[in-house]
């Protein structure tokens, strides 16, 4: 058992070096595929983080009429918080709203002056509602509509809900991100299939050159494992080398793009690359190894019939 493993390993390495050109082209093709896989992974992370950050900024603001009592606003807040879709509700009192307004416009003499002219605080209290998921805003909005209808017309509380302005932006963003993800997945799929075919063909070429050897092996009673082993090992080696090569290429690219992605996508891709290196390594090298093994298995099975 040990001797045959030793022989399979040795013969795998010999085959790898002896067919250097075939090995080189297989590794080249696989590296390109793995680069696509890696790029898609990093790209998804960028898009995902961006989406998450934007989603966190999205909320529904309910503006109250200025005459609404604090009590009735807080009652609304409590009933909103009881909804299963709601993550949190932030209450901004009329005074707070005014303070924020003043602060925001502190360099704007004219507005401040206009504000001073008014005797009363013109701003109403408001509730900022954050849902657990962007798709939940619709139902929260419906709930608020209902509340608005049920209100006592003589003492209204809700002035307006700004859901519809945000809705469009949220929908558009979600659609864009969905499309981008779908396109990248299709591209990845096409490239992976192409790469399996090309790798399969290159490995078949390598096996074709040794078909004499295979027929002699069968003749002298070598088991299929013994025949297949070295080729499988070669496939695994192609995968390993390609995987490591891919990571070596991605490293400087991530380093270079890091600052740019940080300002544009709010995530430094290089930091992510370093922090998640283990996972990236496992996925990229792992898929390389699997790819190589599958290709070898398909290629060799042609010569192992009977």
């Amino acid at each position: 058992m040990f001797t045959s493993i030793k022989r399979i390993v040795r013969s795998g390495f010999v085959g790898f070096w002896r067919n250097a050109f075939v090995s080189f082209s297989s590794i080249f093709v696989m590296t390109i595929t793995l680069l696509v896989v890696g790029t898609v992974m990093l790209g998804n992370q960028l898009l995902g983080t961006t989406l998450e950050q934007i989603q966190n900024k999205v909320d529904i603001n309910v503006y109250m009429v200025t005459t609404a009592s604090q009590e009735s606003v807080l009652r609304l807040k409590t009933s909103l918080e009881a909804l299963p879709d709601v993550r949190e509700v932030t209450y901004t009192s009329r005074e707070d709203a005014l303070a924020v307004f003043r602060d925001r416009h502190k360099n704007d003499e004219l507005t401040i002056q206009a504000l001073e002219e008014l005797e009363e605080n013109p701003l109403g209290a408001s509730l900022a509602i954050r849902a657990k998921d962007t798709t939940h805003y619709e139902s929260i909005n419906a709930f608020l509509k209902e509340q608005q209808i049920l209100e006592d017309p003589s003492a209204p509380v809700i002035d307006r809900v700004n859901f519809n302005d945000n809705k469009e932006a949220i929908d558009k963003l979600t659609a864009i991100i969905d499309t981008v993800e779908r396109v990248t997945y299709i591209a990845m799929l096409v490239l992976v299939v192409a790469s399996i075919l090309i790798t399969f063909n290159t490995i078949r070429l390598a096996i074709y050159t040794t078909r004499e050897e295979i027929s002699v092996m069968r003749l002298v009673g070598a088991s299929n494992t013994f025949i297949r082993g070295p080729f499988m090992l070669q496939g695994v080696m192609y995968g390993l080398v390609s995987g490591v090569l891919t990571l070596l290429i991605l490293y400087p690219v991530a380093l270079w793009l890091g600052p740019a992605t940080e300002s544009f996508f709010l995530l430094n891709i290089f930091n992510y690359f370093v922090a998640e290196f283990g996972r990236l390594f496992a996925v990229i090298v792992g898929s390389g190894v699997v790819l190589g093994m599958i290709s070898s298995m398909l290629a060799i099975s042609r010569y192992l019939r009977v």
Partner: protein, 227 residues
């Protein structure tokens, strides 16, 4: 030891019959020659024996084992009982004589010590001890065939199957190869050989099975080449 029971082989869905109702036995330690024109079914017969091909009808037995009911995964073990020699030698060109023979032992999972011991012995047996490190391209046809025979016997098979072993050889090399096969037979291995060569058959004076159009037409215990 080997028993063909009403074996037939039809190719192309009934278009051509390669073997028809073949029944015969081979006893242990026999030297059997199978003769016949090209297309008489000699090679098909041998293919049945090494389970390269399945019969359309009938059974082939090796001792009590029905060869064509052996599961695929067990076939390599069965094939190790049989050494094969071909007209075109089938040596690996990038390996020396020693490595070619060692390769057969490696494939059988023999230890390095066994290999180092048995390979020179096998080459000794075919009188090629001095060409042990030569590549096939540096050997004559007869020498190549002797290396192939050494490879076939190195795993101590029960049977040697030689398909036209002298087909590519000149008369002297032919004589040498046949002498070696005889020597192997004398040492206790069953030999089954197909040939066209009248001289070889007549000199051997062993059992001859004559085939024509997929049938056995003669089976003589100490036969001559008659066609």
């Amino acid at each position: 030891m080997i028993y063909f029971d009403k074996v037939s082989k039809i190719y192309n869905g009934g278009q051509s019959t390669a073997l028809e109702d073949i029944t015969f036995q081979i006893a242990p330690n026999e030297f059997v020659s199978i003769v016949g024109h090209s297309g008489a079914g000699k090679t098909t017969l041998l293919k049945m024996l090494i389970a390269e091909d399945r019969p359309s009808g009938g059974d082939v037995f090796f001792e009590s084992l029905n060869i064509h009911s052996i599961p695929k995964s067990r076939l390599p073990q069965y094939r190790r009982k049989i050494g094969t020699v071909f007209q075109d030698f089938k040596l690996l060109p990038h390996k020396t004589a020693y490595e070619n023979i060692a390769f057969a032992m490696e494939a059988n999972g023999r230890t390095d010590t066994e290999i180092a011991e048995n390979v020179p012995q096998a080459l000794e047996l075919v009188d090629l001890a001095d060409k042990i490190w030569n590549f096939p391209s540096e050997l004559s046809g007869g020498e190549k065939q002797r290396v192939a025979i050494a490879r076939a016997i190195v795993n101590q098979p029960d049977i040697i199957i030689a398909d036209e072993p002298t087909g590519n050889l000149d008369p002297i090399a032919t004589y040498e190869v046949v002498q070696i096969l005889k020597k192997i037979n004398d040492l206790g291995t069953t030999v089954i050989m197909t040939t066209h060569n009248k001289g070889v058959i007549d000199a051997l004076e062993r059992r001859v099975i004559t085939m024509d159009e997929g049938r056995i037409i003669r089976d003589d215990a100490a036969g001559k080449y008659v066609l």
